[in-house]
């Protein structure tokens, strides 16, 4: 009895230490983001004099200035359009593809699987040069269409792979009995597979959305027109122009990260599971 008591006491003791340690670790590791938010609410003068402290008077106006000067309304519309189209096309095409590859298994589908494994593991920088010149020739350079097309293409291997591993868990018996009842494959896909696979469609959409929202390599190389920039590259252009004004650079940073941080806080489980399941670097 007394030993039991001792033990629980000891466990409690270590766990308080653990909580303190972990809290400190979190504060240290999130410090740069806190810095971004704090400095976004200061005047530029204040950032230079006191970069770490709290803002004396929160300058909410910074956001309004940055939003207007940075042309963020257009940038948000561009990003939103890009994200939505990419998600719809990727999820729809990958859903069909993964279903056929796991449940219909036509001859040659294993080869397709291997092909996707390969394209998933190569770096997207490898495709840059041919795409650059192809896009010039096809006059897709400096268009959102062209950029969206690239985002769709580069996100497909990962989404097919994670959808495949989910569909493998759907028992064949359900599909078989539907087939006996005279259901066509499209109907099975739409009426049976999609409803039970909602979680993976959500995760896939979030992954594509995050990847597209944060992407800058292709957006930076393929879009030069300010009015067509997405939020991430708009941020690059803006900070290039106003690099000396740190309060505005920080405010623009907050505007850039806010949509994804909010989405993340709502769907943190899906984000974490999706990102680690695919084992991709964002």
């Amino acid at each position: 009895m007394s030993m039991n008591k001792k033990r629980t006491k000891k466990e409690k003791g270590t766990s308080v230490h653990t909580h303190i340690f972990l809290t400190i670790a979190i504060i240290v590791s999130l410090f740069p983001i806190a810095l971004l938010i704090l400095n976004s609410l200061k005047t530029n003068q204040e950032v230079m004099e006191n970069p770490v402290g709290l803002p004396s008077v929160p300058q909410w106006n910074n956001y309004v200035t940055v939003w207007q000067q940075g042309g963020y309304s257009t940038a948000f519309l561009n990003s939103l359009l890009t994200v939505v189209v990419a998600i719809v096309v990727v999820v729809a095409s990958c859903g069909c593809c993964a279903y056929a590859m796991t449940k219909l298994k036509p001859r040659g589908s294993r080869l397709v699987g291997n092909y996707f494994m390969f394209t998933m593991s190569v770096s997207v920088t490898l495709c840059l040069i041919p795409l650059f010149f192809l896009w010039m020739k096809m006059q897709l350079m400096n268009t959102l269409r062209g950029l969206i097309l690239i985002y769709i293409g580069i996100n497909i291997p990962l989404i097919v792979t994670i959808m495949k591993s989910f569909f493998l868990g759907i028992p064949d018996e359900i599909l078989e009995s539907a087939r006996i009842d005279g259901c066509g494959e499209w109907k099975i896909l739409w009426k049976i597979v999609v409803p039970v696979s909602k979680p993976i469609f959500l995760t896939s959409s979030l992954l594509v959305g995050l990847a597209v929202w944060n992407e800058f390599f292709y957006a930076n190389s393929f879009i030069q027109n300010d009015g067509l920039r997405t939020v991430a590259t708009r941020y690059l252009a803006f900070t290039g122009q106003y690099s000396s004004d740190w309060s505005q650079v920080c405010a623009a940073g907050v505007i850039t990260i806010l949509p994804m941080v909010i989405l993340y806080l709502i769907f943190q489980r899906q984000f974490i599971e999706g990102l680690t399941a695919g084992s991709v670097k964002g």
Binding site: F216, L236, I272
Partner: protein
């Protein structure tokens, strides 16, 4: 000859079967073919989109690497000359050496951080999810913003350097401006974002660890640290080796943070193979040579993975 015999055989067998059966088999094979056709129509949209954006261009990269193309004029075929040029390009080897340093840094610093925090966090029953959620935030912040925040933190005028100066430290490190440490300063920023990803991977692996072994070790008198290193970590070895392999491959192609924070400078102290390739392709108008470099990057990953696969087949546990 053989074909003919088989055909005859088939005909005889066919005659043996009664008519109904024949109709049925024909029907099945027809519906089978129809199903296969349907399956391919489902596969093709995704496949073609990816081939158009990735598969085709990868072959294109290979083709361009065999030419002296400058992006404007007619290209001429020069065989493997670009690859020969590569072997004599000291700048390329300098960049590759930086990639190696980057890989070493990434195989040590974030991995150890992630192991320690995951090891502590796994003992926490209440609130583990909240900690995990908060720790993971940096991973979803876009690299453009991360790079800017850290440029401010590293700034010699308002950042750590100025702060250390105020504390009276002589010649504090000038992170991004000092050629000796610029590469590692950038690597630290990338790993600040990367380690949380590894931490979550390790945390998942730890949740499947056999607890009775640890308890046995504790009863035998091992302290928690000894138990963790000698009993717990060996049990997640598959995850650790996967992490090490992934980290090595990513270190070869890493691009974002060096491009955003130093552009390879000062001088070429933080130049990586990818930033060198990007500059050759976009500014120096040498897409042919740049393609050869990006192919070498992929070749490294392919060879590396093949070696790992081979060793695994030989019975190495990696």
């Amino acid at each position: 000859m053989k074909k003919k015999v088989m055909f005859l055989n088939f005909r005889i067998r066919k005659r043996v079967l009664d008519m109904k059966q024949i109709k049925k088999t024909k029907l099945i094979s027809k519906s089978e073919r129809k199903r296969e056709l349907l399956a391919w129509t489902m596969i093709l949209p995704a496949l073609l989109l990816n081939v158009f954006i990735m598969g085709g261009p990868i072959i294109g990269t290979f083709g361009i690497s065999l030419t002296d193309w400058d992006g404007i004029r007619q290209a001429s075929f020069i065989g493997l000359d670009n690859f020969k040029k590569l072997l004599q390009d000291t700048h390329f080897f300098w960049a590759a050496l930086n990639n190696l340093k980057w890989a070493v840094f990434f195989l040590i610093v974030p991995v150890i951080f992630a192991l320690i925090i995951a090891g502590i966090l796994r003992k926490v029953k209440r609130g583990q999810l909240i900690y995990r959620t908060l720790f993971f935030i940096p991973y979803i912040v876009p690299s453009v913003v991360v790079a800017k925040i850290w440029t401010l933190i590293y700034s010699p005028f308002y950042g750590i350097t100025a702060w250390l100066e105020k504390l009276g430290i002589q010649n504090p490190p000038k992170f991004l401006a000092d050629p000796n440490i610029s590469l590692f300063s950038v690597a630290f920023v990338d790993s600040w974002r990367y380690w949380v990803f590894l931490m979550v991977l390790f945390l998942t692996a730890f949740s499947q660890v056999d607890k009775s072994l640890e308890e046995a070790a504790m009863i035998d008198g091992a302290n928690p640290v000894q138990t963790f290193i000698n009993v717990t970590i060996p049990q997640i070895r598959p995850t650790i080796s996967m992490v090490l392999i992934l980290t090595t491959i990513w270190s070869v192609t890493t691009f974002d943070f060096v491009y955003l924070m130093t552009g390879g400078g000062p001088g070429s102290s933080s130049e990586l193979v990818s930033t060198y390739m990007y500059r050759l392709a976009m500014q120096n108008q040498q897409p042919g040579y740049a393609s050869a470099i990006s192919l070498v990057m992929v070749l490294f990953s392919v060879v590396f993975m093949s070696v790992i696969g081979l060793l695994r087949k030989r019975g190495w546990e990696i």
